[in-house]
């Protein structure tokens, strides 16, 4: 710091940091950013705004100094507290807000969040029409600006109990008409109900939204690009209002993302006809007969999620080989995909997906990148077909048991270039299955993440080949009795039962780059060149320590490893013999 040149250099470095701080901070954890704040006064000035930018932590006692720096806020309350007021008054530059409050009542939500000071008397009696007639309540508070309804707010997500949920849309629309929430582009509303374990407690009744109410809200916010309303009942209007032709009127051309839970076909159709530009659709339907509407109105979809609420409504299971009844029961689904050529993501929950549907998906949607089917049965034959044919498929997440035959698949090539694979269970009983599993996984050279929920019947040979096993046994000479099992003919018996995993944790944490066995081989072929995350759950105690060393060798990008013990990124870095990623 003595010479002028050096001073100039550190000055320019500082300027670079200042200008690019936001970019750099995006790679850092809050603790790292905070350490930078403590370096010097100058650094404090540069880094403090970055530290406060995203608050998804506790609300600080005093927000008067830093509140205006917060951009993204994620708040969750079981009961309303005085924190709500602190945020409301001080965080006036919010861009996005997520607020979850199970304990709100209607009056304290209106008071604390919406900032309506004097709640109308005989609240419960106020009807929707009554709300419209009230004199604008938001202006009653002229001295106080309200962060929750700020014009800087771009995205708003509220999860609130039924009694708040039922007035939410009309109250927000009212605020908008009062000149608030002018910048809102994305809205998410969720009904949050706490299900008590105690039986005597009465569950609050689920909230009901009428379709005309939703349309009125959308009319008030014509700039919205994303609208989401889930976990409640959406119904057609009752009585006289139904007579009104609600289908005519404006189209919501800006909306590209819609998440909705219609009670039946009719409500969904009203919205579907008015939103021609939706490309991302999430449905949480009560009935499964909405498919023709999707096909008719949303032919540009890139993303479709279909979540059934309950098994009660899902289709009956159909035999995987019973093609005739599949064709009959699932004709809507089979037809659907032929009309969605741009589909990239498809996600379902609690619907049985038979072979014919998946074949139709694979044939009709060449851009399909992601297929997720959770909490449901999915046809193994169908998934095999997808793996053979979907040449863009990167993410596959299915909740089913995959046996030997699934991976053998008559040794046909799988063309899908998978990057993330998540299976509920893999059950390999024969050595052919084990070898085929390893070959398939190694064939996906871009695979980043492999997660298997139940891996108790997998052997370590499903990831390590014979050369690896030899290396492992050399590495762990002192534990030969167990490593010999690696060469056992019986796949089921090659696990160590005697070795305590605590020993292993000890030896790994003391490794610091030096190994207990022989030195690392000079060059190891990276069989899993991109793998960052390997998580096999429910593995019985496995492992001669050498297995971990070998895995770290053949998986050069590994950051998280879970077998019978879990290794974090830090542990793995230590095993690789470095403390800082780049030196």
């Amino acid at each position: 710091m003595n010479s002028v040149g050096q001073q100039h250099q550190s000055q320019s470095q500082r300027l670079a940091l200042q200008e690019l701080g936001c970019h750099i901070a995006s790679f850092l954890a809050p603790e790292d950013i905070f350490a930078c704040c403590l370096v010097s006064k100058q650094w404090y000035q540069d880094w403090n705004p970055l530290y406060w930018k995203d608050v998804i932590r506790k609300v600080p006692k005093d927000l008067s100094r830093h509140g205006h720096l917060i951009r993204n806020l994620d708040l969750s309350f079981s009961q309303p507290s005085d924190k709500l007021a602190r945020v409301r008054e001080h965080s006036l530059n919010l861009r996005s807000l997520k607020l979850t409050g199970y304990g709100f009542t209607r009056s304290n939500f209106e008071e604390e969040v919406l900032g309506i000071r004097s709640a109308p008397t005989a609240e419960a009696e106020v009807t929707e029409e009554g709300l419209q007639d009230l004199e604008n309540p938001f202006i009653l508070n002229p001295g106080h600006r309200n962060a929750y309804l700020s014009n800087t707010l771009h995205s708003l997500e509220l999860s609130v109990p039924p009694e708040v949920c039922s007035v939410l849309l009309s109250r927000l629309a009212q605020a908008r008409r009062a000149g608030l929430l002018q910048g809102l582009r994305s809205f998410k509303g969720r009904q949050a109900i706490v299900y008590y374990t105690c039986i005597e407690v009465d569950y609050p009744e689920s909230c009901t939204q009428e379709i005309s109410n939703i349309l009125a809200f959308l009319d008030t916010f014509p700039e919205l690009t994303s609208f989401s309303l889930l976990n409640l009942n959406i119904v057609r209007d009752t009585g006289e209002i139904t007579a009104k032709p609600i289908c005519i009127g404006r189209e919501y051309v800006n909306i590209t993302k819609l998440e909705i839970c219609p009670n039946s076909l009719q409500e969904f159709e009203v919205l579907a006809t008015k939103m021609p530009n939706v490309v991302e659709l999430l449905l949480q339907p009560k009935e499964s007969n909405l498919i023709p509407v999707i096909q008719q109105h949303f032919s540009n979809l890139t993303s479709l999620s279909f979540y059934m609420d309950d098994h009660e409504y899902s289709y009956d299971l159909v035999d995987d080989y019973d093609i005739a009844s599949q064709r009959d029961i699932y004709k809507d689904w089979i037809q659907l995909f032929s009309e969605l050529p741009n589909l990239e993501k498809f996600k379902t929950r609690m619907i049985f997906m038979p072979q014919l549907v998946l074949e139709s998906l694979a044939r009709s949607c060449p851009k399909l990148k992601s297929f997720k089917a959770v909490e449901q049965f999915t046809s193994l034959l169908g998934v095999q077909f997808m793996l053979r044919c979907c040449t863009a498929l990167k993410d596959l997440h299915v909740s089913m048991v995959c046996p030997d035959d699934f991976f053998i698949d008559n040794h046909q090539p799988w063309k899908a270039p998978l990057e993330n694979l998540h299976l509920a269970e893999v059950s390999l009983k024969y050595s052919e299955g084990v070898d085929m599993f390893r070959k398939r996984i190694r064939h996906w050279t871009r695979l980043k993440s492999l997660r298997i929920g139940h891996a108790f019947s997998m052997s370590i040979k499903s990831l390590l080949d014979s050369e690896d096993c030899r290396a492992v046994s050399e590495e762990t000479r002192s534990f030969l009795p167990w490593t010999e099992e690696l060469y056992d003919k019986e796949d089921g018996s090659n696990r160590s039962r005697n070795r305590d995993s605590i020993d292993l944790i000890y030896s790994v944490s003391n490794a610091k780059g030096s190994r207990s066995g022989c030195a690392a081989p000079a060059v190891v072929a990276p069989h899993y060149p991109c793998l960052e995350e390997l998580i096999l759950e429910c593995v019985p105690k496995v492992s001669p320590e050498g297995i971990y060393w070998r895995m770290v060798d053949i998986m050069p990008r590994l950051r998280s490893l879970q077998l019978d013990i879990t290794l974090s990124e830090k542990d793995i870095l230590k095993m690789r013999g470095c403390t800082v990623p780049i030196t």
Binding site: A16, H23, F27, A35, L38, V39, S40, V580
Partner: protein, 159 residues
């Protein structure tokens, strides 16, 4: 087609147009000054050593798909692809890397800027304030009281 670039210290480099166009600034300049391509493009904030290094980077990445401009910071949290070449490329001393970040920033070479910022973040990651001070030769100008105050403010935001 070739383009010539001139560093702040007057050295002239000739590169393929598509290589130079990885820099948003040069790309825009080429559109504006189409007629005037005989003169080298002056880069007043970039020295010859850094420019050579930036060009080396652009040459290697000439065929990469472009990064989206309006990419928001959330998507940056995802780990970016860094191949072996990139790793080799970042094995330079700290000062050089900061100069490169500055150069990439002034020339708006987005992927290199991205790589550099990640490099800078990796340097300070998991370091204590004292370690950072030592590394950058910065004096601690906080009084103990000020330090306590900042710590106190922080405790309310702990996870």
């Amino acid at each position: 087609m070739k383009v010539t670039l001139e560093s702040s210290d007057g050295q002239v480099f000739t590169v393929d147009k598509e290589v130079a166009e990885l820099s948003v600034i040069i790309k825009e300049m080429l559109v504006i000054e189409q007629a005037n391509q005989d003169h080298p493009i002056p880069l007043l904030n970039v020295g010859a050593v850094e420019l050579a290094k930036v060009i080396e980077y652009c040459e290697h990445h000439r065929n990469d798909p472009t990064i989206d401009d309006d990419e928001d910071y959330d998507s940056r949290k995802k780990p970016i692809e860094m191949d072996d070449w990139d790793k080799q490329f970042t094995i330079v001393n700290k000062e050089m890397m900061f100069e490169l970040i500055l150069a990439a920033n002034s020339m708006q070479v987005k992927p290199l800027l991205h790589l550099g910022c990640r490099y800078a973040a990796d340097i300070v990651k998991r370091m204590s304030p004292t370690e950072i001070r030592d590394l950058f030769q910065i004096d601690d100008d906080f009084t103990p009281e000020e330090q306590d105050k900042i710590e106190w403010e922080k405790q309310w935001t702990k996870l």
